[in-house]
């Protein structure tokens, strides 16, 4: 490394720290348990803003009265080669952002790179539709002196947040988590293709093992030692022998089961439980796992893990026997409703599921998109009612709503305790869906199912969390897809960037557009906000493939940028 760069970099950090220290605005230094426990405010320390998964900030400097005066502070390009799905973090004057198996620390003053950490994927990395996710990362964690980063090949990198040097790299292959291989060369090409972010809680880094949809492997959540990455406990999303729900899987099918926890979950400090949604069961065609008649508990489920020992407290299956690729991976938000600690999860099914956080007992499911045809609703026990008949293998596909991309997908939602509203990156698309014979190549089991999308509009909306009533919506006519993700603040604003690249700051109460800017490329991640030297900033990463499929309707090209706004 060039010494002059190092020196000037250190000076810059030192200057930033002095200023911050003098003004007392920013909590500098190692990230403590107390800092992790707060809602996002001066800092943004969790991808989801806080442990409860709200993506809510207590900051009010930018608010519904003055958001119209926003200006671009800086722009940084990470040279992205795939979708920019990472929600950045902010701590101690720096924005941390992951893309393409690299982590960048950016000076929040001007967006310049303070350090860059680069991980090279193994030579034999590859596999069936694995290029689709290569370079995608949904979140980072920060704890103590380190930024924690999960590379696609199932390695946890603890990177000193000041120096950018790795304190350790933990390879989970030794714990039985292989990475996916080039199927043309490997006998067994299956592996965990990690896109999810870790979560920092006192004494542990929670590491979800996802990417179970790339050949057929079961999902896990690991509790790891922040000091060296050692696996302290391992929680299986699919029930093992003796656990409730084990008998909802035919003998031997759990080994391919799917149920990858592919979006960072939430954590409750009182219950000491980690709540995560899980992926669909595998293969999508359910013929090897009960044909849709068996529940396949643990897949397309919400799972609560006791973080003291990794035992599973409960599992709620939202889509029993899931034949539709209706996984429910979205962050289960923790919200107090009528004094009860409630899991609130808007998900692919088109419903917002409410569960008792402690017991997993189903409370209700509120429909949040206009068109749902796969079921008529959920009964009092949380079971789907009147599910439409499955298509016949090899026969014609059937039309259902929503599409397997869901009412909401991976693009994060938000909750504002002041308005009581959920903010949803929703869509109205449907699909034609059919089953085919399941092909197995290099032990990679293919979906045995396929879809033809019926595109509808992106509908960004506010829904009252308690009542399920829609408060406002922003329909992007003729633009299919999802907003990149939602963020909301105590300043009564909600921020999101549409699939078509429109950065929007709206009034959280009524959806009135207060500020708008065309960012020129698509959004796939949620914005953040923080205080940098007394000024509130909003940072939004954009970039990737516009739309899920063809981009004609969106009219944008592939791009890559991290954009910072301030007043």
């Amino acid at each position: 490394m060039d010494r002059t760069i190092t020196t000037s970099r250190l000076k810059r950090i030192a200057a930033a720290m002095c200023l911050a220290g003098l003004a007392g605005w920013v909590q500098a230094g190692p990230v403590s348990d107390q800092m992790l426990a707060k809602d996002a405010g001066d800092s943004w320390l969790h991808a989801n803003g806080n442990w409860a998964g709200h993506r809510y900030s207590t900051l009010t400097q930018i608010n519904n009265g003055n958001a119209k005066d926003l200006k671009v502070a800086w722009i940084f390009s990470a040279g992205g080669k795939n979708d920019a799905q990472n929600t950045p973090l902010f701590h101690d004057g720096m924005v941390f952002f992951a893309q393409d198996n690299k982590v960048f620390a950016l000076n929040a003053d001007d967006g310049r790179v303070v350090w860059k950490y680069e991980h090279k994927l193994p030579e034999d990395w590859g596999g069936y539709n694995v290029p689709f996710i290569t370079g995608k990362h949904r979140g980072l964690a920060i704890y103590g002196e380190n930024v924690y980063f999960l590379s696609n090949d199932a390695k946890l990198h603890a990177i000193n947040y000041k120096s950018g040097k790795a304190a350790f790299v933990k390879d989970f292959q030794e714990d039985g988590f292989p990475y996916p291989k080039d199927f043309a060369k490997a006998q067994d090409a299956t592996g965990y293709a990690i896109t999810v972010g870790p979560l920092a809680i006192p004494g542990a880094i929670i590491v979800p093992m996802n990417g179970t949809d790339f050949g057929g492997l079961p999902g896990y959540v690991l509790g790891c030692d922040p000091g060296n990455g050692r696996v302290m406990w391992k929680a299986n999303m699919i029930p093992g022998p003796g656990e409730p729900g084990h008998d909802t899987w035919p003998e031997g099918s759990t080994k391919y089961g799917g149920a990858g926890p592919w979006i960072t979950g939430s954590w409750d400090p009182d219950l000491k439980m980690y709540f995560t949604g899980t992926a669909n069961a595998y293969e999508w065609n359910p013929k090897n796992r009960g044909g849709g008649e068996m529940d396949n508990v643990g897949a397309a489920s919400i799972v609560a893990v006791n973080t003291t020992d990794g035992s599973v407290a409960w599992r709620y299956v939202g889509v029993p026997g899931d034949p539709w690729d209706f996984d429910i991976p979205q962050t289960p938000m923790l919200i107090a409703i009528d004094g009860k600690k409630t899991i609130v999860q808007p998900n692919k099914t088109g419903y917002i599921h409410h569960l008792d956080a402690k017991t997993g007992k189903f409370l209700k499911a509120d429909k949040f998109i206009d068109k749902v045809t796969w079921i008529s609703g959920y009964d009092a026990n949380g079971r789907p009612q009147n599910m439409i008949a499955l298509p016949k293998e090899g026969g014609d596909p059937i039309e259902i709503y929503p599409s397997l991309l869901g009412g909401v997908n991976m693009y994060p939602n938000a909750y504002n305790p002041k308005t009581g509203n959920l903010y949803l990156a929703a869509s109205e698309s449907g699909m034609k869906y059919g089953f085919e014979e399941i092909k197995v190549i290099s032990n990679v089991r293919h979906f045995g199912a396929y879809q033809e999308f019926i595109w509808g509009d992106e509908t960004d909306k506010a829904v009252n969390a308690k009542t399920g009533k829609e408060v406002w919506r922003d329909t992007r006519k003729g633009k299919p897809g999802y907003a990149g993700g939602m963020m909301t603040t105590a300043g009564n604003i909600t921020v999101y960037t549409t699939q078509a690249g429109d950065f929007q700051v709206v009034d959280a109460s009524n959806g009135k557009i207060l500020y708008h800017m065309n960012l020129g490329t698509t959004a796939k991640s949620g914005p953040i906000t923080f205080m940098n030297k007394g000024k509130q900033m909003i940072v939004q990463a954009v970039g990737g493939l516009p739309g899920f499929g063809r981009d004609e309707a969106i009219g944008l090209e592939f791009g890559s940028a991290v954009v910072a706004f301030t007043r």
Binding site: G126, N129, D182, F183, A184, P397, Q451, G547, F548, R550
Partner: protein, 155 residues
Amino acid sequence: MPTREPDENRYNEWFDEAGAMSRVLCWVLGLLVTAMLLAAAPLRAEEEPPAVNPYSGNEKAIREGKSWFRGVCAACHGGRADGAGERGNGADLRKFNKGFREFVHTVKNGRQVPGRTQGMPAWGAVLKDDDIFKIGAYLETLAIEGANWKEAKHE
């Protein structure tokens, strides 16, 4: 003619990586393949595929090709082959216009998109030529204006 350099490199790499044992195996396999070729097998592994698809219009082959396509290719190329896949946007194969031979070449060797990680993996080592031809025969039935499944135009 399109350049064939990329797969030559891949071939060499493969040989470099292979150990002595597998090299012997390769020779044996090579001899076998040669023997098969000499026996005038219609579908030749390392040779140019036929200029037009031998399965064009063959109902049974189209049905089998459809099954392969839906089971394996549709994830990226979409059930309609329009590129609207759940796993990113593959090429719109309804508009495929490079001719049958180039289709087979692309499926076998894959295709990288410069500046992007998303690309087509190489299927040559795991799919039989015959199955690739059948997939082609199915895709031909989805062709829309501008598509070309015959011989490629001279570039």
